[in-house]
Amino acid sequence: MKFNLASFGAGLLFGFGLLVSGMANPEKVLGFLDIAGQWDPSLALVMGGAILVGLFAFTVAKKRTISFLGFDMRLPASGRLDKRLVVGSLVFGAGWGLAGFCPGPGLVALGAGKSGALVFVAAMVAGMGLFEVIEKHRATK
């Protein structure tokens, strides 16, 4: 129960952060990605602000095996730098640049009732489903 409540709170706060920062707006994100045009560096400050807080939090988290609510600490094991990581990120970045949406802002814009965000999120879920299908197919082969 408290785990789900904290999850809801974190999602809510994340959504507010995206709205305050302007990053729920694809045009603002594209303004950052357009380095050859009139460049809007705002996104860099959003990342900087988030990482500033995150650095402290993860320093604490790394020293613990149990969270402050008593759940096991699940930090990703330091994985390898493989082709999947790079190719996947390339594909994601291309999609990001195409419309200015990454997953979080897509969801917030959907919550705001934007029809374009519904199209984006539906296609994104389909893409994630496609990934699962391909992975399953490869595993059984």
Partner: protein, 146 residues
């Protein structure tokens, strides 16, 4: 040289919003011991595991509720979607499949991964940033002939 669009640059709200996002990620890892990675949280719902579904829905519901609660007290900031539906569809497909293969997006790799100084996340973040820069360059400066 890079030309900065000073009239569009919003350093204070960007920094404030970033700190709020950081607090969300911080709260999530410290309270629940999980990474606030949106693509992973959403993608995990497609292969539901026992006792691993509700918290994902709760997190996503929080994100969807944020603009609704905001609208109750204040006017929502601008959300301008200029891409056409077909483009949004292709973009969504690429983002969906790419983030799952790359094991993360701007939140999981960009915010959380860089915060925990993960080399893997640094590589991922640099890769999707460059891919984003190149894509926008092609669309805005090569395809239009401008």
């Amino acid at each position: 040289m890079i030309e900065i669009a000073w009239e569009n640059f919003t350093p204070w709200s960007a920094l404030a919003g970033g700190i709020i996002i950081g607090l969300s990620a911080a709260g999530f890892i410290l309270l629940n011991g999980r990474i606030a990675g949106i693509s992973g949280i959403l993608g995990g719902l497609l292969v539901p595991q026992k006792r691993d579904v509700l918290w994902r829905i709760a997190f996503l519901a929080g994100m969807l509720a944020a603009p609704l609660l905001w609208m109750m007290t204040a006017e929502l900031p601008a959300i301008e979607i200029k891409a056409s539906y077909p483009v949004l569809m292709v973009a969504g497909l690429l983002v969906g499949i790419g983030t799952r293969y790359g094991s993360g997006c701007t939140s999981g790799h960009g915010v959380c991964g860089l915060s925990r100084l993960s080399p893997r996340s640094l590589v991922a973040t640099l890769t999707f940033m460059v891919a984003g820069f190149v894509t926008v360059f092609i669309i805005r400066h090569l395809m239009t002939g401008a």
